[in-house]
Every structure is written in structure tokens, then in C-alpha cells.
């Protein structure tokens, strides 16, 4: 069964450093997303991406964050100047359409900022 894959599964970084989280969406999907989940809390939307541009973003997704599709398969989330409160599980997701009811999530990248 096709799946969304994410790397790394866990990253520890020092406060102020930049991190890049990588994702390979399901191959025939055209819509890509990043969500995050702070420990013990609900999953929150960060950003959606379609046709090589951001289609929607939340208030969380400020200038500290950026996304990119550098080639035909990868989708990345860059977090600049990380803060302690950026520690969370970051989920990449993809879907075939934009209706939002068939979004498939990866296993997540656990980011710990120390």
C-alpha cells in the first residue's frame, strides 16, 4: 500500500539552529501538507501546498517556516532559528484532491529542541 514517508524519524537540535524535515508524498498525489502535534495535544494544521506554491497556511506558519518541493518527489519543511516551543511531532501528509477527506499522513518526524 502506498504511504507517505518522512525523514528523520527523530531529530534533536540546539535552539537557534535550522532544521529541515523531509517527506516523500504518495506518488500520484498532488496536494501536500504539514501538520504538527505538540506532545499530548491535538494535531494542528501548518500549511498546504499545491502546484509548487503554498495554497493555505495557519497562524503558526510564520516567517520562521518555509516549504519547498525541490524535485519531483520530495517535500520539505524548513524551520529556521528553532525555539524550544517548536519541539513537536511534525507530520507530512498528501492527498489526491483538495476536498480534504482523503488526506494520508506519514509516521512523523519528532523534533526536540534543546
Amino acid at each position: 500500500e502506498p504511504e507517505v514517508t518522512q525523514t528523520p524519524s527523530h531529530q534533536v537540535t540546539q535552539m537557534g539552529q535550522e532544521v529541515i524535515l523531509r517527506c516523500v508524498p504518495i506518488s500520484n498525489h498532488l496536494y501536500f501538507y504539514w501538520y504538527r502535534q505538540i506532545l499530548g495535544q491535538k494535531v494542528e494544521f501548518l500549511v498546504s501546498f499545491y502546484n509548487n506554491e503554498i495554497s493555505e497556511k495557519s497562524e503558526i506558519f510564520d516567517d520562521q517556516f518555509s516549504v519547498e518541493r525541490p524535485d519531483g518527489s520530495n517535500f520539505t519543511l524548513k524551520i529556521r532559528s528553532t525555539k524550544l516551543e517548536d519541539s513537536a511531532m511534525y507530520f507530512c501528509a498528501s492527498s489526491e484532491n483538495r476536498s480534504g477527506n482523503t488526506i494520508y499522513f506519514g509516521e512523523g518526524s519528532w523534533l526536540t529542541v534543546v
Binding site: Y35, G40, F45, F91, S99, G100, F105, E107
Partner: protein
């Protein structure tokens, strides 16, 4: 915003029982309501969805009921198995002006199934 914390509502059942997990939603304009299962350390896994113009939808061992009058969604799991133990989230799709839907998740319910 909503007040969320570390303690999830928990439903404990015996293997073989039927489980009912409930969710209240706030946005009457949502197109779809979806249930996700999240096992420890993993990403949300799609279980079943229901369109806003439907009341009931059945899948394999699962049924989702939508009551728009009281803005209530439920997930029924028949013959619950230990492998069903996980946190279950309801989510609703919202379509902002851009037209690209996003998911808004609820707080989650932990289901514990004992053999």
C-alpha cells in the same frame, strides 16, 4: 482557542465489546467529517469519512453517525479488538477562501481494549 491538556478522555472496553467514541464539532460549514486512529508514536491513520449531507456511513467493523442538529459525530467499532487500542481523533474539513481544504482535529479519545 480551545483548552487542551495532557489528559485525554479514555474509553476502556473488553475485547469483543462494541465501542462508541463521540465527538462534538463547531463548524456547520464543514464538508466532511473524518475519523483518524493514532497509535503511539505513529501518524494519524484514516479510518472512515462522512460527507456533511449524510447521516450514517458504514465501513468494515466501523460505522460513523453524524447528527447535524446537535453537531455531534460518533464512531462505532464493532467487536473491538486489542489492536484497536489507540487515540481516535475526529476531524472536520474546512475550506477557506483559497478553496483548499484543511483539516481541523478534535481533542482525541483514548480507546483501551483489554483481552
Amino acid at each position: 482557542g480551545e483548552n487542551v491538556g495532557l489528559h485525554l478522555p479514555t474509553l476502556s472496553v473488553q475485547e469483543g465489546d462494541n465501542s462508541i467514541i463521540n465527538c462534538a464539532y463547531s463548524n456547520s460549514a464543514s464538508d466532511y467529517f473524518i475519523w483518524y486512529k493514532q497509535e503511539s508514536g505513529k501518524g494519524p491513520q484514516f479510518i472512515i469519512d462522512i460527507r456533511s449531507n449524510m447521516d450514517k456511513r458504514q465501513g468494515q467493523r466501523v460505522t460513523v453517525l453524524l447528527n447535524k442538529t446537535v453537531k455531534h459525530l460518533s464512531l462505532q467499532i464493532a467487536a473491538t479488538q486489542p489492536g484497536d487500542s489507540a487515540v481516535y481523533f475526529c476531524a472536520e474539513t474546512r475550506r477557506p477562501l483559497s478553496g483548499y481544504s484543511t483539516l481541523t482535529f478534535g481533542k482525541g479519545t483514548m480507546l483501551l481494549v483489554s483481552p
